[in-house]
Amino acid sequence: MSKPVQQLPWPVVLKKEECKGVMIYAECFGGVVNEVSLQLLTPAKKIAGKLGVETTIVMFGDKISELAQEPFSYGADRVILVDDPKLVTYYPNVFGDVLVQLVKREKPELVLVAGTLRGREMAPYVANVLGTGITADCTGFDVDEATRDVLQIRPPFGATMLAHIKTPKHRPQMATVRPNVFQLPARDETRKGEVIVETGISVRPPSIELVSSQEVKKDEVAIEKAHVLVSGGKGIGSRDGFKLVEELAYALGGVVAGSRKAVDAGWVTHERQVGQTGKTVKPLLYIAVGISGSAQHTFGIREAKVVAAINIDPDAPVFESADYCILGDYRKIMPAIIDEIRRSKLVRPADEFKDPPGKNLPS
């Protein structure tokens, strides 16, 4: 049997009045700053402007100093770098403890972490060690200038509601932010700054061990990056039916996505799932086929420029969230669209050529 645990003491809580500024933790893995971390500069700059404070990016890892100018190009006021060989491997509590120490030194009033899988894993640990609250997967922010409280806006309860959450007494306020909801700020390479190299941080030895890490080879276009998405739902009815979704995607030079039900049925992989429990996408064109259009699903396509829907059910809620609605059987409508595209030799967007049919389906 395992030995009893040693509990941590009740955390020392930072005082509200001593905390100023906005801090963003920027993920640096594989020799790059994660773009979704830099997207956070967009809401952060807005909040910092209202509060009259600076935005600081903190980044840590091993041999990442050459990345440290990058956040300045996107508008960061300050960059703090922790470059330590002991940070060569990410462990949630080891990286988390580094962020805890930086927060205790810098005393920001708000800490934002991109809601990547690692970010969602690490950030709640950090908040707990700091004895403060955290809001997950935020899609918006607002500021109550009188109290300096940041309203952290997120979609719980199946995305039908937006909850405005605040942390009135505890500091820092903490939030993870949903990737791809905020635009990356415009890049200005001439914008430079002086990087603060932090050397006084202790990195504890990890209690767990990474035995191996394998890159999953992915040569298809990720749905977050695609300009055209053809997405199938429960109404497709079978794996065979999904081949038609593939074919239309290919004809349009786009890629395949799916609803939660299509993922649950095994017709499309989880990483291609659109919606609240999947991904937020922002294509020029989103075609929903056989998707009823639950609030959870349509929450993921709010940023799509044009939405088309094909459904057999005249009362499908998806028609309320689409620009072009075709009532009918997808088995007849989709082949007609594919024929029409081939007949008229419509040009496909050049950057979406890569996916021949069959590639995105689970094997």
Binding site: S2, N93, Y125, L210, K218, D323, L327, K332
Partner: protein
């Protein structure tokens, strides 16, 4: 080597239609049918498979209103050995910080424990917080998005496989530790009649109120929560054109209409 496993589960409203108390901003549970959070069933299945392989016991713990008893009975029906329902007015309306504190205290009372298991997220609030937060209170290591695990018998470590956006990774964790199980990692087993009968006959669901846990109530429930919901508003809809074409009898015309429209939009 037998292992003692605790699975944390949540009793959640089974509907997308929810009502929110406009004064407190918290969820109104009355009148909404509830279920065990589906992603927690993956955690239960994960625990049961480990128990079948290595021996030991699986305890399911829920912090929920009293009605969650039937949910825990369902888990006994799946094969869980023991169900503990933590329920007290003093724990109500807690955020994840205050919830994790109570859960950690309950886990402490259930020691010795080798492995804590949580589902990836709940369908009602989708935070993914609790696994990391409970681990932080107990000062034990944790890993998320776990798809497989095996006990390394020689040195009392757990070897887990997990997947991230672009990697699959293998970790060794000393026990006790926490694994947060990936949503798609397994298919939860159905309830068997035999186990269901066991649940009815033995009534093994234990009810733990704060008389059992004896926690300072300024650290639990709404009072112990750093975050508060200041208000909830319906998600504003995105303006869309909502132009309809009935293509039931005219698929070719529907296709032409769509492609014409898209080319006018400057797409296709």
């Amino acid at each position: 080597m037998p292992i003692n496993i605790i699975v944390g589960v949540k009793w959640v409203p089974n509907t997308t239609v929810v009502n929110v108390d406009s004064t407190t901003g918290t969820l109104i549970r009355e009148g909404v049918p509830s279920i065990i959070n589906p992603h927690d069933l993956n955690g239960v299945e994960f625990a049961l498979r480990l128990k079948e392989k290595y021996g030991g016991a699986v305890t399911a713990v829920a912090m929920s209103p009293p009605a969650a008893r039937s949910g825990l009975e369902f888990l006994i029906g799946m094969g869980v050995d023991r169900g503990v329902l933590i329920t007290d007015r003093a724990f109500a309306a807690a955020d994840t910080f205050a919830t994790s504190y109570v859960l950690a205290k309950a886990v402490e009372m259930l020691f010795p424990v080798d492995l804590l298991i949580f589902g990836q997220e709940t369908i009602d609030s989708s935070t993914s917080h609790i696994g990391a937060q409970v681990s932080s209170w107990l000062n034990i290591p944790y890993v998320y998005y776990v798809t497989d695990a095996q006990v390394m018998e020689d040195n009392h470590r757990l070897r887990v496989e997990r997947s991230l956006e672009r990697q699959t990774e293998i970790y060794d964790l000393p026990m006790p530790c926490t694994t947060v199980v990936s949503m798609k990692s397994n298919t939860p087993r159905p309830v068997t009649m035999q186990n269901k009968f066991r649940a009815k006959l033995q009534k093994p669901i234990e009810i733990w109120t704060n008389e059992v846990l004896k926690l300072d109530t300024s650290r639990t429930g709404l009072r112990g929560s750093p975050t508060v919901v200041s208000r909830s508003v319906p998600t504003p809809s995105v303006p869309r054109k909502k132009l309809m074409f009935d293509g039931r009898e005219k698929p070719t015309e529907a296709a032409k209409w769509l492609l014409d429209s898209l080319s006018k939009e400057g797409i296709a």
